[in-house]
């Protein structure tokens, strides 16, 4: 099978439609793709571009209202669209496997992992239970699960997210499929866990000779895992090519736009602002004539691009590189790039926020008999342990960490939704960590506002946009006169670059990015002095996220606001923040200016985080550090250094037994580690750009 060069999967001129009450919705148009044995294909695109529909079509699992309108899907010479249910069943799960985004949803919570794994070979092959078990254990070992026997006997909820996804991948590989479909397999995972899974996926094709189709919205992940990449936009492929040719010279304006939207870990906000793609993805029935990307394209030429739908063209000299653009040869991206404006970084003002030894413990009552006997009926979750940092006017401070590190708890205490257990948070010199929001003065409430993470949750679906913003204005007493409130809402809508008639709209009529803009307008309505943004763009598509990020920073610049930016994405953080606070299990492990944190000396955890960030730049050389294990539970943290269980630079027992003290590197750059600073300083940087001796010192 492997020596022949016969393709595993060929999709030819595939058109897929959904049939709804509103009529036929063409989800995928004119889709062609060839997967050769052992090859990993990446499909990249924003939500709604049809990439998951393609995967579903390959699985022939379209749901009741979907159907393939024309074209064929040939898997090893058999046309999948013509097979009956019985024949499909023998292919699905044995020759083609699929791995979904949410690992917990893919595992049956009431069955042991062993049952679920053994089921695969038992269903497809005629083998004994013992043999099935043996193979299951072996495959778990292959996906690098440390103790396969224990995992076999566990229920899904007893495993961490990373282990669950590994188990799901193991399940997918058990039947030795020729084709593995991965639909955003790491989106639900933390970055350091993601790094391990990505490593695993990159090894799969080599080890099992399995062809893979990797669906993602993240160009960096595609770069790290795939051989060839297909860029989809609004239901069609706009560009395809090998990783090398596409990443080095993207030809389609959309691909190019995507690259300008993602903050690279090597750029920062003032030198090279992100260039968001204007507008938004057209709905399937709103697609324009000609090029679907036309209305959002900077190189749109009337009379050329809007005539008829056109075919993919092979880029001269590169047989594998095809692009759906009439003008790809004429466009000179270099010229466009040189026009990029640079922004002036704002003057950092006086100190507005002082976090001084702030602690937040949650009490957990254990009412079990054992706890009663031992007398330990109350335990504490130490969500925040002695946080120390400061923030100044006009400054952006990023709080970085994976889920469960206590960053959201800190936000809650700062906002007054919870009260701190110890220490102080001083805002303009006044202690606020022990005052609940309701007991704060209007002035204090007004000057501390928040932008929330989930765009679908941040606005009340029952009330109009205008009503929700006006409420904030009236609540803070900024204006009381009806007419003036209305005018102010209009000004705010202008500020966040939304049309004024959004005043009357309901949240469900807005897209995710638009909702997030309203969320920002609402936070800035009272002209706050500090705004906390809790992962404000992590749920948005890249092109939209770039626009929202830029907007947030523009407003911040204008209002001289202090921005506390909570995030797990180091490239965004590198891009927009002045100072960084790295948190792990409730502790601050490192803090300093962006340049300081991104260059040695690093805390080992910072080093691992940096290494885990997928970078969509093929030129960059990255040192790979994959952390072992998972985040320990906050109920039962390690005794010594919180990071000791996963640290790749552990120096000995001291790490397990003693909490390291803060080492001052320079001015406000602090590392909490037992390794002396001068040893840490000699560590080679994680990310290097060829031609530069040291990127971060340059």
């Amino acid at each position: 099978m492997t020596d022949t060069d016969e393709p595993v999967l060929v999709c030819k001129d595939l058109c897929i439609s959904y049939y709804t009450r509103a009529g036929e919705i063409p989800a995928v148009v004119d889709f062609s793709l060839t997967v050769r044995p052992g090859e990993t294909i990446g499909i990249v695109g924003e939500s709604g571009c049809g990439k998951s529909t393609v995967a579903m079509a390959i699985m022939q699992h379209m749901g009741a209202n979907g159907g393939i309108k024309s074209g064929s899907i040939t898997f090893k010479g058999r046309d999948l669209t013509r097979l009956n249910e019985e024949e499909l069943r023998s292919i699905r799960g044995s020759e083609i496997s699929m791995i979904y985004q949410e690992p917990f949803a893919s595992l049956n919570p009431s069955l042991k992992i062993s049952t679920q794994l053994m089921e695969v070979p038992l269903a497809h092959e005629n083998i004994s239970k013992a043999e099935a078990r043996e193979r299951s254990v072996q495959i778990l070992r292959d996906v690098k699960i440390a103790d396969p026997e224990r995992v076999m006997n566990s229920y899904p909820h007893q495993l961490s997210g990373g282990q669950q996804q590994r188990a799901v991948i193991a399940m997918g590989l058990l039947s030795k499929p020729s084709l593995l479909l991965l639909d955003e397999p790491t989106t639900a995972l933390d970055v350091t866990v993601e790094a391990g899974i990505v490593n695993l996926i990159a090894d799969i094709s080599e080890k099992f000779n399995t062809s893979q189709i990797y669906i993602s919205h993240n160009l960096g992940l595609i770069l790290e895992t795939c051989d060839r990449v297909f860029v989809m936009y609004s239901g069609e492929i706009v560009e395809e090519g090998t990783i090398k040719s596409l990443f080095n010279s993207p030809r389609h304006p959309y691909t190019h736009g995507l690259f300008s939207c993602i903050p690279l870990i090597t750029t920062d906000k003032n030198a090279a602002p992100l260039k968001p793609i204007r507008g938004q993805l057209p709905l399937p029935f709103e697609r324009p004539l000609g090029c679907y990307f036309g209305p959002r394209c900077d190189h749109f030429l009337q009379g050329v691009c809007d005539q008829a739908h056109f075919q993919m063209k092979t880029v001269g000299g590169e047989p594998d590189h095809r692009v759906r653009c009439l003008r790809y040869e004429e466009i000179d991206y270099k010229q466009v790039v040189s026009n990029t404006e640079t922004k002036v970084s704002p003057e950092i003002g006086k100190r507005v926020l002082d976090v001084d030894g702030m602690k937040k413990y949650y009490e957990v009552k254990d009412s079990s008999l054992a706890a009663l006997i031992s007398g330990k009926s109350v335990r504490y979750v130490k969500a925040n342990e002695k946080l120390n940092f400061t923030a100044h006017e006009s400054e952006t401070v990023a709080i970085v960490g994976e889920s469960g590190c206590g960053k959201s708890t800190f936000a809650k205490v700062l906002m007054g939704l919870e009260t701190g257990t110890g220490g102080e948070i001083r805002h303009n010199g006044k202690e606020i960590s022990h005052i609940k929001v309701r007991d704060r003065s209007t002035e204090q409430i007004r000057s501390l506002q928040m932008v929330f993470q989930n765009p679908f949750d941040t606005l009340n679906p029952s009330h109009s946009i205008g009503g929700q913003i006006s409420r904030v204005i009236r609540q803070f007493g900024v204006e009381t006169d009806k007419k003036k409130v209305f005018d102010l809402v209009m000004t705010l809508l202008d500020t966040v670059k939304l049309p004024r008639d959004f005043y009357f709209r309901k949240p469900r009529q807005l897209s995710g990015g638009q909702k997030q803009r309203i969320g920002i307008a609402r936070a800035f309505a009272g002209n706050p002095s500090i705004v906390i943004a809790d992962e404000p763009v992590s749920a948005l598509d890249v092109s939209v996220a770039a626009a929202v990020t830029e907007l947030l920073m523009d407003i911040q610049r204008e209002h001289k606001t202090t921005l506390l930016f909570i995030s797990h994405d180091l490239s965004v953080v590198r891009y927009l923040s002045d100072r960084i606070v790295v948190m792990y299990l409730g502790h601050i492990l490192e803090r300093g200016t962006t340049a300081e944190v991104f260059a040695p000396p690093y805390h080992p955890y910072t080093e691992a985080l940096l290494s885990a960030v997928p970078i969509a730049d093929p030129d960059i050389i990255k040192r790979r550090i994959v952390l072992k294990g998972d985040l320990p539970s906050a109920m039962n943290p390690p005794k010594g250094c919180p990071f000791c269980t996963r640290c790749h630079r552990r120096i000995g027992d001291i790490c397990d037994l003693e909490l390291p003290s803060e080492q001052l590197v320079k001015d406000r750059h602090v590392i909490k580690c037992h390794i002396p600073v001068d040893v840490l300083s000699r560590i080679e940087p994680v990310i290097r750009k060829p031609g530069e001796s040291d990127l971060n010192h340059a």
Binding site: L417, Q449, F452, T458, L459, S462, H463, S464
Partner: protein
């Protein structure tokens, strides 16, 4: 997305029209709406439909279709006291359609307030309210009605009180469950961080978003309340005679049901059709709410 009207009122009207248009797509819902609408029209136009005084004794034991002395026809016959059954059913619909929605509304007001408090405040408030509702729910409903009515006497408004007392714990449970989910939404946190009062958050931020399931439940519950009013009438705990009351009509004539089945049958059909109407309407609404 279709073009949206940009004015608040017009947008509201547009939504009402659209939801009625949506109901048209569910034939179950349409039948329900038709039955309910039919009874509402009957109740509204009662004086125009009927030719007899519902409480006047005219001609006992007249079969359906008998011609009366005044020249009008007893379409559904008369009962043992000589009262026109059609007139009594028509006027009786007014009683049902007045007290049933009133009782439901009252039960909802109490249930929603309790549910909001229990779900939003949690802790001790939740414990107390939940235990109270457990106690009330542990009684057989009928016993509860009998106890309440026997204590405060039989009258229209006491029926409302009895029904409120017996059904609000169930409503509280539903609301509490919905609130437990909704209170963790970011928009509630946003309201908290701008210092809104608890009541404003409960009534303005949370309650409107729980309306979907509550409207469907209210429709179903309206059906149960109609049964309850019928049952109370049947047990003699309903409206005091001689005012027409469907349940009471069944009760008064049940001993003659073998000889004069029409006396019992027609009030029974009326009760069933109205309940069926509300249930089908609830089904239709649920179908629509699941779709969008």
């Amino acid at each position: 997305m279709s073009k949206m009207p940009s004015v608040g009122f017009a947008a509201g009207m547009w939504r009402v029209i659209k939801s009625i248009a949506l109901l048209r797509e569910s034939w179950v819902g349409m039948i329900g709406a038709f039955l309910v609408l039919f009874w509402i029209l009957v109740a509204v136009f009662a004086p125009l439909i009927t030719q007899f005084d519902p409480n006047a004794s005219i001609q006992p034991y007249a079969r359906p279709g008998t011609l009366s002395a005044s020249g009008s026809i007893f379409w559904l016959g008369t009962d043992h006291l000589g009262r026109d059954i059609l007139s009594r059913i028509v006027w009786g619909s007014r009683t049902v359609l007045f007290y049933a929605p009133l009782a439901t509304l009252s039960a909802y007001t109490v249930g929603i307030l309790m549910g909001l408090m229990a779900g939003y405040r949690g802790g001790l408030v939740d414990d107390i309210l939940s235990r109270i509702s457990d106690i009330i729910l542990s009684f057989p409903v009928l016993v509860l009605y009998i106890i309440v009515i026997a204590t405060i006497g039989a009258s229209g408004f006491n029926i409302v009180i009895a029904i409120t007392f017996a059904s609000s714990p169930g409503i509280m449970r539903i609301v509490r469950g919905l609130v437990l989910d909704l209170r963790n939404r970011d928009y509630v946190a946003a309201a908290l961080t701008r210092g809104e009062s608890d009541w404003r958050i409960m009534l303005y931020e949370i309650l409107p978003n729980a309306r979907g399931p509550l409207i469907v439940d209210a429709c179903l519950r309206l059906g149960y309340v109609i049964i309850t009013i019928g049952v109370l009438g049947f047990l003699g705990l309903g409206l005091p005679p001689p005012d027409p009351d469907w349940g009471g009509m069944v009760n008064e004539t049940r001993q003659m049901a073998i000889v004069f089945p029409y006396m019992t049958l027609f009030p029974c059909i009326s009760i069933s059709s109205l309940i069926l109407g509300f249930n089908l309407l609830a089904d239709g609404l649920r179908e629509i709410s699941l779709r969008d």
